[in-house]
Structures are given as structure tokens and as C-alpha cells.
């Protein structure tokens, strides 16, 4: 069997499990999503869609045989919280946009734009999404899950620890090591694309500067 076939088989199995196990719990979870959405039916449906989409993406982290209802409920709750925060951020940005430019102070500006980028940050910013996805796929699944949950979905350490059933210390160490690996892998891609980041990449050591020193 080719690796491509295996991949398709794994995806088909995942979808079957998801449909057999997660989807049937929807009727029991909907009232709860409605409560989270303050009885707004449309918001509740969007919330359910986003949460079940996430549940599918993280399906490989669900330990078969444990409490799926509780796991899904936790994902709905976290998704609801993130949706509310996003709404708040949109509101802030919209309000900032409505202020004439001359009234925006330097502090406000730093919320929406960051200018002074170093060569390393610049190189990272210009990498193709494919490179980043490649690097992520090369991470061990247990590291990948933590990195995605923390950085992409904004879960707290405690929430990740609960969902994956691991200790908070383990969450931290997987996040740190995962990001360290990604940084190094991405610098390698950046170098191949002609950015000179070698000095910065290899210098993962702490450097005391004059300003940073106490006394």
C-alpha cells in the first residue's frame, strides 16, 4: 500500500469514528450550546459548527473509551469563550479604526501594527505557509497538538492539560520544545530561501546586554 493510500484510510477511519461517536451526541449538546449563546439560535449553531470542526481536527488526541460527552462539552465551552473574546477584539479594532489618525497615540498604534522587525522576524514573516505546515507535520503528534491548541486556538495551559489528560508541566515543556524545534526548522527553510539568519538561529543562548543587567 502506498503512503497516500494509508493516509486516505486513516482519514476515512477518523471520519467514520467521528460520525459514529461524536455526531450522535449533538442533540444532547445543543441545549448547552444554546445556553452559551444566550438562546441565540444562529449563534448556537455557529458555535456548534466551530466546536465540532475543532473536535474533528483534534480527534486524534481524544482517548478512545473515555468520556466523549465531557470532552466535547469542554471544547464547546472553550470555543464559546474564544468567540466572545474575538468579538470583543473586533469591537476594539473597529473603534480604533473609527478614530481619526491624528488622535491615535503611539500606544494605540502598537496594538494594530508592529513595525521594527528584526532580520529573523522578517525572515519568519516571509516564509510560505507550506514551509510552516511541513515543519508542523514533522513535529511529533503530541507536540503538534499542544502547539496548535496553545497558539492557534488560544487554549490555556490548564485547558490543554484537561483535554489531553497530561500535567501542566508537560504542556509547558511540549510547547517550549515544539516551538524551539519549529524555530530551528523554519530558520533552515529561510536560509534555503536566501535569508541570512544563521547567526540568530544558532545563538539560542542568553545574552546579557548593558541595559538588561541589574545594578
Amino acid at each position: 500500500m502506498t503512503p497516500k493510500n494509508q493516509e486516505q484510510d486513516a482519514e476515512a477511519l477518523k471520519l467514520r469514528q467521528f460520525e459514529e461517536q461524536a455526531i450522535p451526541l449533538m442533540p444532547r449538546l445543543m441545549p448547552w450550546a444554546l445556553e452559551k449563546a444566550k438562546n441565540d439560535r444562529i449563534e448556537a449553531e455557529d458555535l456548534m459548527q466551530e466546536a465540532f470542526g475543532k473536535a474533528y481536527r483534534y480527534w486524534h488526541t481524544f482517548e478512545q473509551g473515555t468520556n466523549l460527552y465531557g470532552w466535547l462539552k469542554m471544547i464547546i465551552e472553550n470555543t464559546s469563550k474564544n468567540r466572545n473574546q474575538k468579538e470583543f477584539k473586533h469591537k476594539v479594532v473597529a473603534e480604533l479604526d473609527a478614530i481619526p489618525d491624528w488622535k491615535i497615540t503611539e500606544d494605540d498604534r502598537s496594538l494594530t501594527a508592529r513595525t521594527n522587525r528584526s532580520a529573523e522576524a522578517e525572515a519568519l514573516a516571509n516564509l510560505a505557509s507550506d514551509d510552516v505546515q511541513d515543519a508542523l507535520e514533522n513535529l511529533k503528534p503530541e507536540f503538534q497538538a499542544v502547539v496548535q491548541m496553545a497558539i492557534v486556538d488560544g487554549y490555556s495551559y490548564k485547558e490543554i492539560a484537561d483535554i489531553l489528560d497530561i500535567k501542566i508541566g508537560t504542556v509547558m515543556s511540549r510547547l517550549h520544545r515544539g516551538k524551539k524545534y519549529l524555530r530551528e526548522a523554519l530558520y533552515t527553510y529561510a536560509e534555503q530561501e536566501g535569508y541570512d539568519v544563521s547567526a540568530a538561529a544558532k545563538e539560542a543562548v542568553i545574552k546579557e546586554t548593558k541595559k538588561g543587567k541589574k545594578k
Binding site: L15, Y56, R117, S118, A121, G212
Partner: protein
């Protein structure tokens, strides 16, 4: 102990927790103050922040569309 200035080593050790909002308010204030006054740590912070952004952008891929469509259909059937 709180409101004590921190050094580069402490600052960089906590950078992930700082970015994930997992530090106490006191420590966050100390880190912000340090980063504002230390070019090296500011650069370190910016790079980690940029790395997060790059990961976010690459991962915005949702569940496959066919799966989303199925989920939607099941939600609609809840009536």
C-alpha cells in the same frame, strides 16, 4: 518578591508563558518593563511573537470542507 526587576535570563525563560498570558500580573509587568528597556530581549520577544503569528497563519485551515458540510447538515437536522 513582586515588582522586583528581572534579568534577561528570567525574561527569556518566561517568554512563552508571557505570550500565552500564563504569568501573574506582577511578573507580566516586570517582563514588559524589562522588554521595553532591553533591545536583546525585545528582539527575542518579537521573534517568538512572529513565530506564533506564522504558526497561526499556517494553521487557520479548518476541518476539511466535506466534514464541515456534514456537521452543518447534522446541526440543521436538530431543528
Amino acid at each position: 518578591m513582586s515588582n522586583e526587576p528581572i534579568d534577561c535570563e528570567e525574561c527569556q525563560e518566561q517568554v512563552h508563558e508571557y505570550l500565552q498570558r500564563e504569568v501573574s500580573d506582577d511578573l507580566a509587568t516586570a517582563i514588559t518593563a524589562h522588554v521595553a528597556n532591553c533591545d536583546h530581549c525585545e528582539e527575542f520577544y518579537n521573534t517568538e511573537d512572529q513565530l506564533n503569528q506564522v504558526i497561526k497563519n499556517a494553521c487557520q485551515t479548518e476541518a476539511p470542507e466535506a466534514v464541515i458540510a456534514k456537521i452543518r447538515q447534522h446541526i440543521a437536522e436538530l431543528g
